[in-house]
Symmetry: C2
DNA sequence: CTTTTTGTCTAGACACTGTTTAGATTGCGT
DNA sequence: ACGCAATCTAAACAGTGTCTAGACAAAAAG
């Protein structure tokens, strides 16, 4: 409950306070529980204030999505360290799926193209940086050149690497991977084992 | 514009009229353009009427999702006719991706677990029936038994078959597959060719 | 053929939502 | 110290999903 109080009329750092508030709400209640007014209340500010900093709700959520892609990029960056070929692809995919499972709210937001501004340059750059390790692994595995944004859009081998990760991640967030324990919680260990099996079937 | 007029106080078949209205709205404006009141207006009925038939908006959308899964099931049913092994998996995945591309609104709805009632029995049955051909192909390819619902939840080989299809379909609806033509339209032919390449890389 | 009962639908309200407008308040550069 | 620009508020607007009464009509019961 980071209800940012404030003494002065001006907030001081409302922009990042709103982003933090949004992230907390999304982590706690999911994207469907998020509301622009709720974020404003959490930052201790009037309902109209966010508009001035982000233009619209999509502007704020775009920043949250950007930061989420940066978090994903950080987790993916070191995951293939010292690994090559299919082993690298397996490790990266496993991290991708774990990220989706452990950050369901953020991951769902990243897929909500109706809530964020897909054409935002910073967001696109973050997406590119996040996908970079996967592209490098795909290129390394199958003997391709240095990945560029254009390459990533079109090369079938990279898409073949991304698609299973994306699909598994979605299945994970929908609770369709592995057995769920009572109370709706997921058995993370069993899920990891299942994902590992799937990955060995796809990339032996 | 199926603005169902009516002469009598009672509608006669409001339930299916609302489902049709919802489907038309989703096809034309996407899930994000859908509104329960809009569907009610289209059926020529007051805003509170739908609640009586479906309990809530999620109830109506669950029916739309169910019918969408049935449509998908119908398209998948005959796609692997006469094919075996990886060829069957490739054909089924291609159909899955085409369905997502040609029915973006419905496909997006199927993934919106916050808008539909996932635990609805009819919906679950429809999902199961839709996934059946993929399960059969995966079982046939790799020597497994007859697929059952429990099997489909847990077997890594089936998940390995579903995940790429799911991932590719999501990438397709987000416009990240193949080059998009000006005006935002997708070059379907080029996309099919790309998907074919991807599938041959995954399942040679 | 009436009467009752049951299922449909309407009207209006409620508590929300995101966004807009005009105005109040403050910090900063000169 | 003053004016300007940035920042935030207050109030309103159109729209949402859902709830509670009650109006209406078709089917069942007498």
């Amino acid at each position: 409950m980071t209800k940012t109080k404030r003494d002065s009329y001006h907030h001081g750092d409302l922009r990042s306070a709103l982003i933090s508030a949004a992230e907390e709400i999304i982590a706690a209640e999911g994207v469907e529980g998020f509301t622009l007014r709720k974020a404003a209340r959490k930052a201790g500010v009037s309902p109209g204030a966010p508009t001035h900093h982000f233009g619209s709700m999509a502007g704020l959520l775009t920043q949250v999505a950007r930061r989420s892609y940066e978090a994903l990029a950080k987790q993916l960056a070191g995951a293939a360290e010292g690994l090559e070929g299919n082993a690298a692809l397996r490790a990266l995919t496993a991290v991708y799926v774990r990220f989706a499972r452990d950050n369901t709210g953020r991951f769902r937001l990243m897929g909500r193209t109706d809530l964020i501004e897909l054409e935002d340059d910073d967001l696109r750059a973050a997406v590119y940086r996040a996908m970079r390790p996967l592209a490098a692994a795909a290129a390394g595995t199958r003997g391709l050149g240095v990945p560029t944004p254009e390459f990533e859009r079109l090369d079938p081998r990279l898409i073949a690497a991304i698609a299973p990760a994306h699909g598994l991640a979605h299945l994970a967030t929908e609770g369709r991977l592995a057995a769920t324990m009572r109370s709706g919680e997921v058995d993370a260990q069993a899920q990891d084992a299942l994902v590992d099996e799937v990955l060995r079937a796809l990339w032996p």
